[in-house]
């Protein structure tokens, strides 16, 4: 079978390509150039990502498969980066990797793959797909390695996309993936895992967004609406954030508050883009029991009655028991059995039955 592997230059997609080639598939490596790395990059070594493309090329040479770099700068900018900036500007916390998966890798890249006669697109995600012969649907499941599972970022893939998706490392623990890379002497075997959003240099998303939206000052307010200080734009904050609030010192003394409650740390509770307010308060106020989500994608089919599921609300969140009720129009309401901390608009709520992804949507 001819399979295109989306190669990022990291160890996971490199091993994915190597495994498929070893299994005898006709493997084509494709890497996406996502942002301009040519102009003005005169400081050698300052940019990691052109190195990543070269790493992908070296791996492809090592396992003897053809490899091409495709220019997706414009699409990436339109479909991922713009959305990322707009979401922050709107007081939400975006999830660009999920957008990139459903709108780029398994969309534009998959279209190209079909043009090259490929039957499937493989990536280095820690997730599994399984065909359900009874229903004819494709099941999406968590990767075997729970600590590395990336199914959360794949919830928006359609059945059509999943039917042609291959995740070769999903049934292996990370250690085994690295070990395999070493055994095959892949040039990226010891390369550290990437931790950051690929287009944000130095993890500094605030500067990145700040460059792309007009800076608008605003104020911190407490839950009663009392102004506590000023800030340089709501895009600098995310629900649940504690660090960098710079309001503790500015906090006016409470008329009847105790010293102890004044010292309690403040968290971002919500963001109000209409008047640029950042609402802060104690950790206990971050707790919520319900959420609504829209743009819901039902991988396992839309249920005709409310269902019980475990719902995950961010990448590093322990999925929690909840009732999920469809509201129509691709929206759902999720009612957790126990309150959850920092339900964050813009992130995804993904519904699981054990390891199986039932579906998911974008938190309102």
């Amino acid at each position: 079978m001819r399979i295109v592997v989306a190669m990022s230059g990291g160890v996971d997609s490199s091993v994915a390509a190597a495994l498929l080639a070893e299994q005898g598939h006709d493997v084509i490596g494709l890497s996406m150039q996502l942002y301009d790395q040519s102009e003005g990059q005169t400081t050698f070594g300052s940019c990691c990502s052109i190195d990543d493309l070269h790493d992908a090329r070296r791996v492809a040479a090592a396992i003897d498969i053809p490899h091409y770099i495709l220019n997706f700068e414009r699409r990436f900018d339109e479909q991922v980066v713009s959305n990322f900036v707009q979401e922050y500007a709107a007081g939400r916390t975006p999830l660009p990797c999920a957008r990139c998966n459903s709108d780029l890798k398994f969309a534009a890249l998959a279209d190209r793959a079909r043009g090259f006669g490929a039957d499937a697109v493989a990536t280095g995600h820690y997730a599994r797909v399984e065909r359900d012969e009874a229903t004819g649907r494709t099941r999406l499941m968590r990767g075997i390695d729970a600590s590395k599972d990336q199914s959360y970022f794949l919830f928006s893939l359609t059945q059509e996309q999943l039917a042609h998706a291959v995740f070769p490392v999903g049934d292996r623990p990370k250690d085994a993936v690295r070990e395999y890379a070493r055994t095959r002497r892949l040039p990226v075997a010891e390369k550290p895992d990437s931790q950051e959003i690929c287009f944000i240099p130095d993890h500094d998303y605030r500067s990145f967004v700040g460059k792309n939206v007009p800076s608008r000052q605003g104020v911190f307010v407490d839950e009663q609406g009392q102004v506590l200080g000023t800030h340089d734009g709501i895009h600098r904050f995310t629900v649940g954030q504690r660090k960098g609030l710079s309001v503790a010192a500015q906090r006016p003394g409470r008329r009847n508050g105790s010293a102890a409650s004044d010292a309690a740390p403040l968290y971002v509770l919500s963001l109000r883009p209409s008047d640029q307010q950042v609402v802060v308060g104690p950790r206990s106020s971050l707790e919520r029991t319900t959420l609504t989500a829209s743009g819901v994608n039902w991988i396992a089919g839309e249920p005709d009655r409310p269902l019980r599921a475990r719902v995950q609300i961010r990448h590093r969140h322990q999925a929690a028991a909840a009732a999920v009720r469809a509201l129509g129009d691709a929206r759902v309401e999720v009612a957790f059995d126990a309150p959850q901390i920092a339900i964050t608009p813009g992130q995804a709520a993904v519904f699981y039955d054990g390891n199986v992804v039932l579906g998911g949507g974008w938190i309102d």
Binding site: I28, Q33, Q37, S38, I50, R57, P66, Y68, I69, L70, N71, S102, D103, A107, D111, R112, R114, G115, F116, G117, T158, E160, Q161
Partner: protein, 387 residues
């Protein structure tokens, strides 16, 4: 059978060239600057190659300086002329908009250091008109640099006329002949240029060897400084084996230049005609008459060149989207843009370039495979993601 139709990117070595390089590497290791026997042996090899290159372009051997290739020759010509003429108050440089990056980026580098630069536009056929060059020239123009043949579309520029205009105002004339030398007759006297760049690997010589013709009496500042090699013009121990390969390639090319141009031109026309009639929605970019005989650049409507290039490679057919030198990825061609082609045509064009080992069978194979690939890609273009 793999088909290689990317001779403008680089060419395979001619067997005689390979033999010469191997022989020199095996038998002659001396430094061409050394006084003793070993040095003299090496010097003789370099001198023979110099004569060969000189006769390829109708120059005197003393006017040929060996370099590491086309890019170095272009840098040497432009930077060397700019520096040499600067004390006389000449701080302006002119080039065509369709030059190779070796020229364009050298101009940009000089612009950052205070030189004024002007790029001469080309017409829709991809040719820079002498009149436009005349408009671009200023009293303090130091150098005019216009390529002889364009690498992407193959068009041949009116160098002799442009030289005359450059000389009228006392400017030096350089031509980047990397894509013409060895393919068509190149005569530095007929072109009336002061400086001419060529590169061995574009005509079946080795990579890493090239030459700059410097007309006798031309003031040029060396850009590579060091020892007294190449008559003080280009320092660095000569790459004797590669230079020997360049010399043999030059002799081979000169011996059969008209015959080969005829043979390859016939193949190119067969390919071009075959594609235009077998694939609907195709058109040739640039002038079809004033062109090197090995090159055709074709637009494919509703196809991304990037995809077609890859689809062809997966079928064992190697072509290019234009200049191979950028980043290995694809930007819209600056040449097609300069010709005023609409954006989609700058992104849907492929370059087919033929050469020494190209055959009719290869041409027919490409013409046979293309319609299916194009049709498949057209079927997918802009297909919305099914929900």
């Amino acid at each position: 059978m793999r088909v290689y139709f990317d001779y403008n990117a680089t060419t395979p070595l001619a067997p005689e060239v390979l033999d010469a390089i191997a022989r020199v590497n095996r038998e002659i290791f001396g430094n061409a600057s050394s006084v003793h026997h070993f040095g003299q042996q090496a010097k003789a090899v370099v001198d023979e190659a110099r004569s060969a290159v000189a006769s390829l372009v109708n120059a005197d051997p003393s006017e040929i300086v060996f370099t590491s290739g086309g890019t170095e020759s272009d840098n040497f010509a432009i930077r060397g002329a700019a520096e040499a003429l600067e004390p006389g108050g000449r701080r302006h440089l002119v080039a065509s908009a369709i030059e190779h990056e070796a020229v364009l980026n050298t101009l940009k580098a000089l612009a950052r250091r205070g030189w004024r630069t002007t790029l001469v536009p080309v017409d829709q056929s991809g040719i820079a008109s002498p009149d436009r060059v005349r408009e671009a020239i200023a009293p303090d123009t130091a150098l005019v640099s216009v390529m002889h043949a364009n690498n992407e579309i193959g068009t041949i520029q009116p160098i002799a006329e442009i030289s005359a205009i450059a000389h009228e105002s006392g400017a030096l004339m350089h031509t980047d002949a990397v894509q013409s030398a060895g393919k068509i007759g190149v005569d530095v006297r007929a072109l009336a240029v002061d400086l001419l760049s060529l590169s061995a690997h574009k005509f079946n010589g080795p990579k890493g060897a090239g030459a700059l013709f410097i007309k006798r009496g031309t003031r040029l500042q060396p850009t590579m400084t060091g020892g007294k090699h190449e008559r003080n013009r280009r320092a660095g121990t000569e790459n004797v084996a590669a230079i020997a390969g360049l010399g043999v390639a030059a002799r081979l090319a000169a011996a059969k230049i008209e015959r080969e141009a005829e043979r390859i031109g016939t193949l190119r026309d067969r390919l071009e005609g075959g594609i235009l009639s077998a694939v609907p929605g195709t058109a040739v970019n640039g002038a079809r008459e004033a062109r090197v005989p090995n090159t055709t650049n074709i637009s494919f409507d509703r196809v991304e060149a990037e995809s077609l290039l890859i689809a062809l490679d997966l079928e064992g057919i190697a072509v290019s989207t234009g200049s191979a030198c950028s980043s290995g990825t694809l930007e819209p061609s600056h040449v097609l843009k300069a010709m005023g082609l609409p954006v989609h045509r700058t992104q849907n064009s492929l370059r087919f370039s033929l050469g020494m080992f190209s055959s009719e069978a290869e041409v027919d194979q490409v013409v046979a495979v293309l319609p299916r690939l194009v049709e498949k890609l057209r079927g997918l273009t802009r297909k919305p993601v099914s929900a």
